[in-house]
């Protein structure tokens, strides 16, 4: 896999300096959001399984940069990065993970089920492959209502093995729906390598069977993701149907929880080291600095600002009230207003 960030010329055509800085900001936000969880998790009062997105930040950031507030996204058990990139405030996420009534799902969903309809997140499923058809469904609704929205579904390499992947691509292609399929191929499903699950490590080529474009990109290169997603989003907005984008990446932490799993012998530590050298945040930061889009000081300021905001959020979230016990029996059904 190539290691160069897109050349500057290409970038200039792609994204304005504002966009570049905003991509940087999102990536740092996502990274630091997760690192705060690692800090607090040992206190054992964030009682929900956390699937950290560290190492994969370029994908959510690069894709969501093209989305409007009311475009829809569906994420997975590994949801934090997508929500943040789409605009969900960190405090309501942290509050959710702490099981607080101010959480984005009133504390009922936890880390795997954030909902933030105001930012186009209509809820989240942690059933692998479950969210793929849901996004096709919102895309269908948009096409029927002609509301101009598009839908994006993020899912893992594991999810591409589920029947729903096939069923969704077939239907979305036939109906030419405004939906973008983003497969985050980190080569693992829990601790199972893709070689034990698929005949080859190449998910994008499946698209052809459905008559839609399929492209594989370096998922650690935010500009490559940004470029591919931009084209896919444009196709969707123009009524030209779905696209499948496979983003090759790697997760740094264990499947679930704050620890690294390499010590347990789950995965070769050499792989982690190789991928850490290709840290999406660092690579992009270096690119921006080298090309003078940002200075070291500006970057440090940005980081500081984000950190302060996250510190405030997590502290505030932790101080929010827990739900009343009566909440247990509420919300099983929607009540007509």
């Amino acid at each position: 896999m190539k290691t160069n960030i897109l050349d500057l010329e290409g970038v200039a055509k792609q994204a304005s300096p504002e966009v570049l800085l905003s991509l940087m900001r999102t990536m740092v936000l996502v990274r630091r959001f997760e690192e705060k969880i690692i800090e607090v998790y040992p206190m054992q009062d964030m009682k929900t399984p956390v699937h950290l997105y560290i190492g994969e930040e370029a994908i959510a950031s690069g894709v969501c940069a093209h989305l409007k507030k009311d475009d829809y996204i569906f994420t997975t058990h590994r949801s934090h990065g997508h929500c943040l990139a789409k605009g969900t405030g960190p405090e309501m996420l942290y509050a959710e993970f702490y099981g607080r009534s101010t959480g984005c799902s009133k504390g009922k969903g936890g880390s795997m089920h954030p909902a933030d309809p105001e930012n186009g997140i209509l809820g989240t499923t942690a059933i692998v492959g479950g969210g793929i058809p849901l996004a096709v469904g919102t895309a269908l609704a948009s096409k029927m209502k002609k509301d101009g929205k598009i839908s994006v579904t993020f899912f893992g390499d594991g999810a591409s093995e589920e029947g729903t992947f096939h069923e969704s691509l077939n239907f979305a292609s036939m109906k030419q729906l405004p939906v973008v399929f983003i497969c985050e191929n980190n080569s693992y499903a829990t601790t199972s390598p893709i070689s034990q699950r698929q005949p080859h490590d190449n998910i994008a080529i499946r698209a052809e069977g459905y008559g839609i474009p399929g492209i594989a990109v370096d998922g650690n290169d935010v500009l490559e993701v940004y470029k591919a997603a931009g084209e896919a989003v444009q196709r969707a907005r123009d009524g030209q149907g779905p696209t499948l984008i496979e983003c090759k990446t790697y997760r740094w932490k264990g499947h679930v929880g704050p620890d690294c799993d390499h010590e347990k012998g789950c995965r070769p530590i050499e792989d982690l080291n190789k991928w850490m050298e290709r840290c999406p945040v660092e690579m992009f930061k270096n690119f921006l600095i080298k090309n003078r889009f940002i200075s070291e000081t500006e970057y440090a300021n940005m980081l500081g600002e984000i950190d302060r905001e996250l510190d405030r959020s997590i502290k505030a979230a932790r101080q929010c009230a827990l739900p009343d016990k009566e909440e247990l029996l509420k919300d099983v059904f929607h009540e007509k207003k």
């Binding site: 209509l122 058809p133 895309a139 609704a141 239907f171 099983v332």
Partner: protein
């Protein structure tokens, strides 16, 4: 009242009703009328399912609707039940009101994941922020030697899943009224129809109306035994009542109309009066709806029960093909008569 009445003969009722100045419609046409009115009045409603637009039109219940509403709103589908249910759920979250139609309930195990893990839990998991106004119509009922994979009734499974409502209309009046209620309920509703009542005729007003969920109905008052009958078994129970009447046994026939919510009060009141309970269902016995109803009575009206409870069901076997075995498989009015008599001796 005409809308509570069950007509057990399929034919000639049109005239009977007309004589009373009442509009008669078959169950099939009542379903179609409900869908037509919903499609006309609400842009967010649409039908989807394998064959909804075809020349069979789901046993006639969607026949020709695509001509008025187009194939986008009466949408044929690939054969991909789980994915397509997910699509319908996604559309529902985004404000549409899909009605997903399955010609046979046997195909629902294909999409249990989207029904159980997604539709049923979504409102709760999102803290009430996002609801799923999805109606899933599915049809049960004996076929022509259709055997194990094309004759199942699985409503009992859905009763165990919090977050799913379940309607099971037995009359044309309820078919229309419950469907119109279901589509606007705002929750996932399993709407379970019986193929053998599609031809049955009853009073159905032309204007739109709804039948509320959770309100059962006494189809025939009686004092000796409470018979809770589901779907087509309501008709069999009415027939059984006639037979039993001749022997001086007076049964009360209750049609719960919806299984979730379930009208406990109606059943409990009746059992307090009769002291005896029979449940007649159209599915296998063990772990089914009958067990739940019996258990609720054992919890809330135990002291009134004068006799053991009895269930009338299919046996606990897959459905056989051979006509002799099929015949032995399905219970009818005679089975209800037999069960009632066991309690009366």
């Amino acid at each position: 009242m005409p809308w509570t009445k069950v007509y057990t003969e399929k034919t000639d009722l049109k005239d009977t009703l007309a004589g009373e100045g009442l509009r008669a419609l078959s169950y099939r046409d009542a379903l179609k009328e409900a869908q037509t009115q919903l499609l006309r009045s609400d842009e967010s409603v649409f039908l989807l399912g394998e064959g909804v637009d075809d020349t069979g039109g789901i046993f006639g219940s969607t026949l020709g609707l695509w001509k008025e509403f187009g194939k986008d709103r009466v949408m044929d589908l690939p054969i991909a039940e789980n994915g397509m249910t997910g699509v319908a759920i996604g559309a529902a979250m985004a404000g549409m009101k899909p009605i997903f139609v399955h010609m046979r309930m046997d195909f629902l195990p294909m999409c249990m994941d989207q029904l159980i893990n997604h539709a049923a839990k979504w409102n709760y998991m999102t803290g009430g922020k996002v609801n799923v106004p999805l109606v899933v119509r599915s049809i049960i009922g004996r076929g022509w030697g259709s055997a194990a994979q094309h004759s199942q009734a699985l409503h009992g499974l859905f009763m165990h899943i919090p977050g799913l409502k379940i309607a099971m209309p037995s009359t044309p009046y309820d078919a229309k009224g419950l469907l119109m209620e279901a589509v606007n309920d705002g929750n996932p509703v399993m709407f379970i129809e019986h193929r053998w009542v599609y031809d049955y005729i009853g009073y159905v007003p032309e204007e739109p109306y709804t039948v509320p969920f959770g309100k059962g109905i006494i189809r025939r008052p009686g004092k000796d035994v409470t018979v809770v009958a589901l779907s087509v078994m309501v008709y069999e129970a009415i027939k059984a009542a006639k037979t039993l009447e001749a022997e001086g046994i007076d049964i009360e026939v209750i049609d719960p109309r919806t299984l979730n919510p379930f009208d406990d009060a109606l059943v409990i009141e009746s059992v307090k009066k009769t002291g005896r309970l029979v449940i007649a269902d159209v599915a296998c016995k063990t772990g089914g709806v009958g067990a739940e109803i019996a258990c609720r009575v054992a919890e809330s009206a135990h002291e009134y029960l004068k006799a053991p409870v009895r269930r009338v069901n299919f046996p606990d076997t897959p459905t056989p093909c051979s006509p002799v075995l099929e015949e032995a498989y399905y219970p009818d009015a005679g089975s209800i008569v037999k069960a009632v008599k066991e309690l009366i001796r």
